[in-house]
Symmetry: C2
Subunit: 311 residues, 2 copies
């Protein structure tokens, strides 16, 4: 049995996984992300850690098909990366550099969000599909496009930047990206809280959330599940914008399925139902609609997709 390594480089830790080529996770572990010296030790640390892990298991680099690496920044088609702010990287080529550190091992690099989408398709909520688009509803909204089994990084590294689709041209609040009315402002955990607070301030509608000091996306979804009207409106707003965006994506690349992940997706079926209603009413053109499924791998999606890249 051959193996492959999946690496997910984050701003605080580097997650790593050793997989069998059939997708079975053999072991996962983490090392800290050393950001000093413009992050120049990160790849050395990764190479060192992989060699050590192989040794522990009486394996060698020859037992690996390759290593995939997901990084928090845009990746060009030659495997290079212009900038990863969170790592301090500028003009690096993790593909070539890591390969050199691992005796010429096959290495592939991808943007972390795109790589996570591939992971969910290989072993997670999108298993069995070959073309998916993922929406990761976390603190922000990320995403990834996988068509015919291949990540779409895009010509300028903007493939799958679904969080910054403009969905409301009337929005006056600014998004973190500098724009206004991005999907992220309504569908991220932060966005759900923002929309809820606005509704509480601007309406006099009775709500279990009124007067609560701490409001999180979870409390909003819990209130919605309990029938709270104001909370249900917030969920419907999220569903409307996400459903509309999916309709547009379906008429662009027409995936087999949409995978919904991130912290907000823990809300489960109520979220899927809210999105589905608006998605279906907006894709009148296609008889057969894409499936909506929940992500299942959580934080392992990154290492899983990274490993899959080299197979």
């Amino acid at each position: 049995m051959k193996y492959c390594a999946g690496i997910d480089v984050g701003g605080t830790t580097v997650k790593m996984g050793l997989f069998q080529v059939d997708g079975t996770l053999v072991e996962k572990w983490e090392i800290p992300t050393r950001k000093e010296d413009s992050g120049s030790h990160i790849l050395e640390d990764i190479a060192e850690s992989i060699k050590k892990k192989l040794k522990e298991r009486k394996l060698t680099l020859a037992d690996l098909e390759g290593a995939g690496i997901g990084v928090p920044g845009p990746v060009k088609s030659d495997g290079s990366n212009e900038v990863c702010v969170n790592l301090g990287w500028k003009d690096r080529n993790p593909t070539k550099e890591l390969s050199a550190l691992l005796d010429g091992l096959k290495v592939k690099t991808g943007n972390d969000a795109n790589v996570a989408a591939l992971g969910e398709m290989w072993q997670g909520g999108g298993k069995g599909y070959n073309s998916i688009v993922m929406f990761t509803l976390g603190t922000g909204v990320g995403g990834g496009v996988v068509l015919d089994g291949k990540i779409v990084d895009g010509s300028h590294g903007a493939g799958g930047e679904v969080g910054h689709f403009t969905v409301n041209y009337e929005e006056t609040d600014q998004c973190n990206c500098g724009g206004h009315g991005c999907l992220e402002q309504y569908a991220s955990a932060t966005g759900v809280v923002r929309v809820t607070r606005q509704k509480l301030e601007n309406t006099s509608k009775a709500s279990a959330l009124r007067g609560r000091e701490h409001i999180s996306a979870k409390t909003v979804f819990d209130a919605a599940k309990a029938g709270d009207e104001l909370a249900l409106e917030v969920v419907d707003t999220l569903g409307m914008y996400l459903g509309r965006v999916m309709a547009t994506v379906s008429m662009t690349v027409d995936p087999e399925a949409y995978v919904i992940g991130g912290g907000v997706s823990k809300a489960g079926q109520i979220l899927i139902d809210a999105i589905q209603k608006h998605y279906e009413s907006n894709v009148t053109l296609i008889k057969e609609k894409a499936k909506l499924v929940l992500a299942t791998l959580g934080n392992d999606a990154g290492i899983c997709g990274a490993a899959k890249m080299v197979l």
Copy 2:
């Protein structure tokens, strides 16, 4: 030198082209589309015509790399077609059927709009690029997505159905597709006239177009070029919706270039400028933007892209 054939099946005529594999068009010709008997003679007529043309040129099927065929309907990944209303086809597999009629020649089938996009990328306005999205602004709005040189037909044949992106959720007029507020209602030749007539009716703004019985997209663009304010507003509306849509597409698949074709594109630079302004203001996230270029092949895009499919 090897050759390939490109076939573009329309509701009235079948356009055909014999190409050298380097993209040089050797000869193009047309035959009528025989729609009787549920269009069952169309492929026979095509095969017959290709054989005749080869004979005239003292060539044989062995001199062909293959034949590509664009059809006016969705094409599945197995090369089959559920329905082509304009041809009377239902549950046909033009790929297999035409191949059988041409002694097992390599045949590929694609949706005509997607195929035209590939043609523009191979030999037209998108030459030199490898990933483009095309918008064909004709009577309706069609389009095609080509990524890494490959047409994206989509899982349910809806890839590149860019004309039916909803761009205005407040629209009360119905689109031909049954929806409301589709891009086609503003950016097609018909749409430009519709928007103009509405502005003439609903405002008292002075305009050279006021009182004219016949208004076409061309007269509107001509008036805009002459500085007519109302006409300029119509062009800006088109540019705004198309620019917004392109921003969304860039954050999904991030092509190198957008190719604008169809009758409306004859307006030229004024159209590109109107779109570009809104596209750029909506893709704040990407530093390097996709190029906007005009299509150059006109009606030959279909045969050209069809031929390219088999190479």
